[in-house]
């Protein structure tokens, strides 16, 4: 497409575009019209934006609420008697909403306001030196995840791939429950307990596994303090249990073990966990393929082969994302 090539070949950062991409440029009709009208030859100086045709296309006022509090997938009293209405109401209305408001207050007007939540969690974690709004971003993400992990009339048994992986990596569902209990009871203070799909490597140059096997990609139970989540370790979380005291104190007082066992028996939605697992395995395998291809390309470049490298990296739109359930 001629205008796209023009933009792509110059590789310039076009002011009105959200993302700079040297592969393909996502242009709207007005922008394409502009590109088509100017010369298609490479220009040295950046293209000046003309008066936009559509007034709505102008840079809007910074949104005072970049993130909205996501509504619960069920009414407040749906999880009775295992999690009381009061707990759910307070937890969502005061704690979750408080984090959303704090996050909005800090990031509004900054460049972070346009990021997706997951991206923001990773960026603000900053490799262990978190930025001030990390706790809020992470807690918003964690709580969204937590509410979706539960459903009224939950419990039962996992099925299919999830069941297979649980039995392969833990032995049985009971063993998994025991490990989760242990993690919950040994988490001193506040935090979260997760079942995560661990697929990726460490992300440092020399972490090549000399004997790769299928078991490298496995399920793990992890516990994290305060607001941290396994996203920062490059895991794919599958289920989350909030072991902050505000999540269970009104119903179970100090009996965290009882709360966790009721969660696993009566509240958890194995369907959601299975969906997430499927998604995680898909993303992990895609990522692995991409990395293998990149490694191969690098090797070939090193060997100075004249290769016409076709970039098959998916466009941002085509990249599979964790779907949020729309209710």
């Amino acid at each position: 497409m001629q205008p796209a090539t023009a933009c792509a070949s110059s590789g310039l950062t076009i002011p009105w575009l959200r993302r700079c991409s040297s592969l393909r440029v996502k242009c709207s009709t007005s922008q394409r019209a502009h590109c088509a009208s100017t010369s298609t030859a490479d220009t040295a100086e950046p293209i000046e934006p003309i008066e936009p045709i559509d007034p709505i296309e102008t840079d809007p006022e910074p949104d005072p609420e970049p993130f909205k509090l996501k509504p619960l997938p069920y009414p407040f009293n749906a999880l009775e008697p295992h999690m009381s209405k009061e707990t759910v109401e307070y937890h969502w209305e005061r704690h979750h909403r408080g984090h959303v408001d704090s996050l909005n207050a800090i990031i509004q007007g900054t460049e972070f306001a346009e990021m997706e939540l997951e991206n923001m969690v990773l960026t603000s974690y900053n490799e262990g030196n978190p930025l001030p709004f990390f706790v809020h971003a992470s807690q918003v993400w964690n709580h969204d995840f937590f509410w979706e992990t539960m459903k009224p009339g939950g419990g039962g048994n996992p099925s299919n791939v999830l069941k297979y992986l649980i039995e392969r990596d833990f032995g049985s569902l009971d063993e998994l429950a025991k490990e989760i209990q242990n993690a919950a009871l040994t988490q001193f203070g506040s935090g979260w307990v997760w079942l995560a799909y661990k697929a990726h490597r460490l992300g440092v140059g020399n972490d090549i596994n000399p004997r790769p096997s299928k078991k490298d990609k496995r399920l793990v139970v992890v516990k994290t303090p305060n607001a941290v989540s396994p996203l920062v370790w490059d895991y794919y979380p599958l289920l989350a249990i909030d072991v902050w005291e505000h999540a269970y104190y009104m119903d179970y007082e100090n009996r965290r073990g009882d709360y966790v066992s009721v969660f696993l028996d009566k509240l958890i939605s194995w369907d959601v966990v299975s969906d997430r697992l499927k998604n995680a395995m898909f993303r992990a395998s895609k990522r692995e393929k991409m990395e293998k291809r990149e490694m191969l390309l690098d090797k070939m470049k090193e060997a100075k082969l004249r290769v016409k490298a076709v970039d098959l990296r998916p466009t941002p739109k085509a990249r599979p994302k964790m779907k949020r359930r729309q209710y």
């Binding site: 706790v135 001193f188 203070g189 506040s190 305060n226 607001a227 005291e245 505000h246 104190y249 100090n254």
Partner: protein, 265 residues
């Protein structure tokens, strides 16, 4: 009847008769005195006195802090959380190298300069909770008197300033933690600091004067998420300035707070 030498009880229980010990027939020994029957159930075995920590009781009834801290909160906080820490600590002590340390020593030693050992969380929690119950009293709050007030005004400006700083520090904690009024040994002044999880000013060598538990279990049943109401009620109605005075008096043995008294020649 043979006259008995009062034989010193063989506390070490080694059961080995020394060269100087008098051999006394069992019959005569028993008849001499029934009260001091030192016969050991397991002859030849050493006995070791063992001691563990136990749950100390708050110096007031469990419902004495109503309506600012409900009886239910105190019952669960003390009876379940504090108790759980004591039991876990004792379980650690069965196999720990820190058996025999006093609680303060154990807190400082197990903190290990920032890489806490496994006993730290429980020992520090036990110490901090003991401290916390003693920092409160029924009909507490209001103003401190005399020397304590002078010291606070010297270090914070005004008493209200101190309350504001204390409240601000308490609300700044994310997650579980404590907020402390403590005496800095090196700078010889009072200061306020928030800490995470179970850390207390003991670990960095200063002397705590007031400790307030900001873990959610301390206030959730009464105040839900309204932490400022909890802290304000603590400062206005619960804090025991009497304990503060006693602790300051003790602290003066370690820190010289007054102007140096140079004798006039």
């Amino acid at each position: 009847m043979v006259l008995q030498l009062v034989m010193a009880p063989n506390w070490c229980g080694c059961g080995v008769a020394s060269a100087n010990s008098t051999k006394i027939s069992t019959n005569a020994f028993k008849m001499s005195s029934n009260r001091f029957n030192f016969s050991k159930p397991y002859p030849g075995r050493a006995y070791r006195v063992t001691a563990y920590y136990s749950l100390t009781t708050p110096p007031y009834e469990l419902d004495a802090l109503e309506p600012y801290m409900s009886k239910r909160t105190v019952e669960i906080h003390w009876g379940k959380h504090h108790n759980e820490h004591v039991e876990r600590l004792n379980k650690h002590l069965k196999t720990s190298a820190f058996y025999g340390h006093t609680l303060e020593e154990m807190v400082k030693a197990t903190y290990n300069n920032g890489s806490p050992l496994v006993e730290f969380n429980d020992s520090s929690s036990v110490w901090s909770h003991d401290f916390f119950w003693e920092s409160m009293q029924p009909n507490g709050g209001s103003m401190p008197k005399g020397g304590v007030l002078d010291q606070i005004e010297k270090d914070f400006g005004t008493f209200t300033n101190f309350k504001d700083e204390f409240t601000f520090a308490a609300l700044s904690i994310f997650g579980p933690g404590w907020v402390w009024l403590y005496l800095k040994k090196n700078e010889r002044k009072l200061a306020v600091a928030p800490t995470q999880n179970a850390i207390s000013p003991l670990v960095w060598g200063d002397i705590p004067i007031i400790g307030l538990d900001m873990w959610e279990h301390a206030y959730y049943l009464d105040y839900k998420d309204d932490r400022s109401a909890y802290v304000n009620n603590f400062l206005d109605h619960l804090v025991s300035w009497h304990s503060v005075m006693v602790r300051m008096m003790r602290a003066e043995a370690f820190v010289n707070l007054g102007k140096p008294k140079i004798p006039v020649a």
